[in-house]
């Protein structure tokens, strides 16, 4: 197991290294001059341009710029934003809190709803209940989070007009209050997907020969279902959810926009449109990192649940 974990961590570092080079190069393929972004295009003198180049290390060769960036990342220094000319750490800090909160809350919401729903549909396979579950998932899958967000806002303003859905938060209670509804909106697609995967993999397990053996041996059905079937069936769900978390960060952009939450997603999109490449490369590499860490963790969890995976 230890060897397996080491191997996966090695792969993670290699992938991250390659990704960092790609991100760095692709960001610089744009024909927008960073100096123009920093100036906001305003009229300027040659000395100012030179001073800006020095301040943002743009006068150095690309290779050195890359090393400086990586060195900064290792020291937790994300550099300066072109557009705002302030430390990216300061800009990103509160936004990470929002997006991570949003993504993790909606993952939890999704799993809490999807797993029981999947089991329920699998057990009640081909009944009216199962059909209803399918339709429910289908509706959720068909509703983009953006649309659900707007529906939720309309619903809140009709049902609970005092519930705050704009503005920032001052304490943890407000943080939870602000994030709950957006998380719900973001969770929808995931609920649909995860519950369908849970259902089919649960059916596979229920039909597996070992289940028949257990039934023949007289093991109680609830014990078979939750102790054996669920444990096996949940593996592909973890896989799906972990892969989805990356795309949820991207999906969060729209939800953040509707709920006027200042998060990483909206910041990334703003930075791309305003050509603030210092921010783009930082957020992108952070997303890659997050994505790799989650999939590595998922692999390790797999391996812990199912020893056969370690051998492959």
């Amino acid at each position: 197991m230890g060897k397996f974990i080491l191997k996966r961590i090695g792969q993670l570092i290699l992938s991250l290294f390659i990704a960092s080079i790609l991100v760095f190069i692709f960001v610089r393929l744009s024909d927008t001059d960073p100096v123009a972004v920093i100036l906001g295009g305003k009229q300027t003198s040659q000395e100012t341009i030179q001073a800006i180049k020095e301040k943002f290390n743009l006068d150095k060769p690309l290779f050195q710029q890359y090393l400086l960036w990586i060195d900064g990342l290792f020291h937790g220094d994300l550099g300066l934003s072109f557009k705002y000319q302030t430390s990216i750490n300061e800009l990103i800090g509160p936004r990470i809190l929002t997006t991570l909160g949003l993504v993790s809350a909606s993952s939890v919401i999704a799993l809490v709803i999807a797993i029981p729903l999947g089991i329920f549909c699998a057990v009640k396979k081909h009944t009216l209940w199962d059909r209803a579950g399918s339709i429910f998932s289908l509706i959720l899958a068909g509703c983009p989070s953006f649309f659900v967000s707007i529906l939720l806002i309309l619903l809140i303003s009709a049902v609970a007009p005092t519930y705050p859905f704009t503005g920032t938060y001052a304490n943890f209670a407000e943080y939870c209050q602000r994030l709950f509804v957006p998380s719900l909106a973001l969770a929808c697609t995931m609920i649909a997907l995860a519950s369908r995967v849970m259902r089919s993999s649960m059916i596979d397990q229920i039909n597996a020969p070992y289940t028949m053996t257990a039934v023949a041996k007289g093991v109680p059905q609830s014990r078979i279902l939750f102790k054996h079937n669920m444990k096996n069936a949940v593996i592909p769900v973890i896989a799906i959810v972990s892969i989805q978390i990356g795309s949820m960060v991207v999906g969060a952009v729209l939800v953040e926009n509707v709920f006027s939450l200042s998060g990483l997603g909206s910041f990334l999109v703003d930075s791309i449109t305003s050509s603030d490449y210092a921010v783009v490369q930082d957020i992108t590499i952070m997303l890659v990192f997050l994505f790799l860490v989650i999939s590595t963790l998922a692999d390790i969890i797999y391996a812990a649940i199912d020893p056969r995976i370690r051998l492959k």
Binding site: Q43, I139, L155, Y163, G167, T168, A173, E174
Partner: protein, 560 residues
């Protein structure tokens, strides 16, 4: 489970959360105070139940912005979002009243000695929000930031005729003009006459006006914090000089809500008090709200299509004409604006700006003009006469505000009828400001757009304020508001003549003369004279003039 049940259970889940978090909301946070600023110091918002049951949320003006602002620095405050934040912090020498007359502000008195000399008496009892006194040096320094070809200021054009500004007494400055200037009387009442602390500027040169640098000036409010893309918080300035000015609000909390539906819901539920740029397609959705007053002001605004005349094929007059003829502006405006706008007349200003000369006379003149009434045959003729008879591909820059999107889509389909393929490029509002002021350049240093949908409104009650700033050749470069990069010697000559004249009748004739040249050259095509609408919660009262989108301050509101 049926869909109805889902809605019910969602509603149930919501109410549970409302109750839970409502109970544990912490001090001073009632159910509706979700907009309490994160990490804001408590000094400015310390009014609480002890002072007669007024809670924080009552004395907080919750202002919804549809986009982030450009800067806090007054020299970049030249759009109707940025200005309404900046004018709370920064004051000018003079002030334009709702009826168009001018009042004193930081200058206690002023006089026009002759056509080229203006003398201003500066108040000696004003201090900046940090308590340091405002001096004549601060005034001169602030105004000079707008002067010279190196100036970054968006209102640098207003200072084109200024020769020098000098201190001529302990509390007196004299402005010498190179030539008489019909606009100058108003300039000290715009952000061009805004005064900032020189010492503070020198200390924060690198990040002045940004979220980290802030500004220091004399306004009734001082800068607290700005979370880019999210919110801006200002608190009452305890060192404010004008003790007589009523001020019901201790805090102004601007929340940036880009999504229309959310902004409407926030207004309707009272989570925000005010939205000053209510777009035409939102008004209908707000009409049924019992907690809101909706106002629509007949403003100076022109919504127009600008052609980048520096670039082919838009340097070809026939191409521009072909496009104008192909657009059914009347139909477009009626369907998009309804009662909140009228189609362009061929002039660059609507009847709200018939402020010099006689309104009747202007109307008569406007009636003689043809603002390229829809005529597809003429459109085809013009295109055939151009260097591009078979059409071409081009780009249209447009803000992501929804009714602008509708217009862009309409223009796209109208122009496809004459073989012009338009790709619509969406930008955020603050990016459109950058584009409008010529600060989005391509690799060759040419403005990086083919056509754009913009709006403009004069800074003062003068029709030329809707023409010269956007068409004078000295504004055609980077940082200037001549969005079409229009350069015409004939027009420039008339602009100068009109500007140097202080005789109203003569000015009227000159304006008519250049209006005809412009209509023929058509660097910009006015689609609509539109109203400026806003929604405000009934818990407060406000009186507005046609210039409110430049200078509306929290002092103008009183709690009902």
């Amino acid at each position: 489970m049926k869909k109805k049940n889902i809605v019910k259970s969602l509603a149930a889940a919501l109410s549970v959360v409302v109750c839970l978090t409502g109970c544990s909301g912490g001090t001073g946070s009632s159910g509706s105070s979700g907009s309490t600023p994160a990490g804001s110091p408590s000094d400015g918002s310390s009014v609480n139940d002890a002072t007669g049951g007024v809670s924080d949320s009552d004395t907080t003006l919750k202002w919804a912005l549809e986009s982030d602002i450009v800067s806090l620095d007054p020299i970049y405050a030249y759009d109707t979002t940025t200005n309404l934040v900046v004018v709370q912090l920064v004051e000018s020498l003079l002030y334009i009243n709702t009826d168009g007359s001018i009042s004193p502000m930081l200058a206690s008195d002023w006089k026009c000695v002759d056509d080229k000399t203006y003398v201003y008496t500066i108040r000696d009892d004003v201090s900046f929000s940090d308590g340091t006194p405002m001096t004549v040096e601060d005034v001169i320094f602030s105004m000079e930031r707008n002067m010279g070809s190196e100036s970054d200021s968006y209102v640098a054009w207003m200072f084109d005729s200024v020769d020098s500004i000098e201190k001529t007494g302990d509390w007196e400055i004299t402005v010498h003009l190179k030539n008489p200037d019909a606009f100058w009387q108003y300039v000290p009442a715009t952000t061009g006459g805004a005064v900032i602390s020189k010492a503070y500027y020198e200390e924060h040169k690198d990040n002045y006006g940004t979220a980290s640098g802030g500004v220091m000036a004399t306004g009734a409010y001082k800068f607290d914090h700005w979370t880019n893309g999210s919110e801006i918080v200002l608190t009452a300035n305890e060192n404010y000089w004008d003790k007589s000015a009523p001020c019901d609000f201790k805090t102004i909390d601007y929340t940036i809500i880009t999504e229309d539906t959310t902004r409407i819901a926030a207004l309707k539920t009272g989570q925000t008090d005010l939205s000053v740029n209510v777009s035409v397609d939102m008004i209908g959705q707000l009409a049924d709200a019992t907690n809101l007053d909706i106002n629509s002001v007949h403003a100076y605004r022109i919504d127009h299509l600008a052609f980048n005349t520096e670039k082919a094929p838009f340097n070809d007059k026939n191409v521009r004409k072909a496009i104008c003829y192909a657009i059914d502006a009347e139909n477009l405006v009626n369907s998009v604006y309804g009662e909140y706008g009228v189609p362009g007349s061929g002039l660059l200003f609507g009847d709200a700006l018939y402020t010099i000369g006689s309104a009747e006379d202007w109307q008569k003149f406007a009636d003689t003009l043809d603002n390229y009434s829809y005529n597809i045959e003429k459109a085809k003729e013009c295109l055939a006469a151009s260097a591009y008879p078979d059409g071409f591909d081009c780009r249209l820059a447009v803000s992501n505000i929804s009714y602008y999107q509708s217009m862009a889509v309409y223009i796209q389909s109208a122009l496809s009828a004459i073989g012009i393929n338009v790709s619509v490029e969406q930008h955020t509002y603050d990016e459109m400001i950058t584009i409008q002021f010529g600060n989005m350049l391509d690799a060759d240093g040419v403005k990086d757009y083919d056509m754009g949908l913009f709006d403009w409104q004069a800074d003062f009650p003068d029709p030329a304020g809707n023409v010269r700033p956007i068409l004078i050749s000295s504004n055609a470069g980077a940082g200037g508001s001549n969005t079409s990069s229009f350069r015409s010697d004939a027009a420039d000559e008339l602009f100068a003549k009109e500007n140097n004249s202080v005789d109203e009748a003569e000015r009227v004739e000159l304006i008519k003369e250049y209006s005809e040249i412009i209509l023929d050259e058509v660097p910009i095509y006015v689609l609509a004279f539109s109203n400026q609408s806003f929604a405000v919660n009934k818990r407060m009262k406000v009186d507005l003039g046609p210039l409110y989108f430049w200078d509306l301050t929290a002092k103008d509101f009183t709690l009902a």
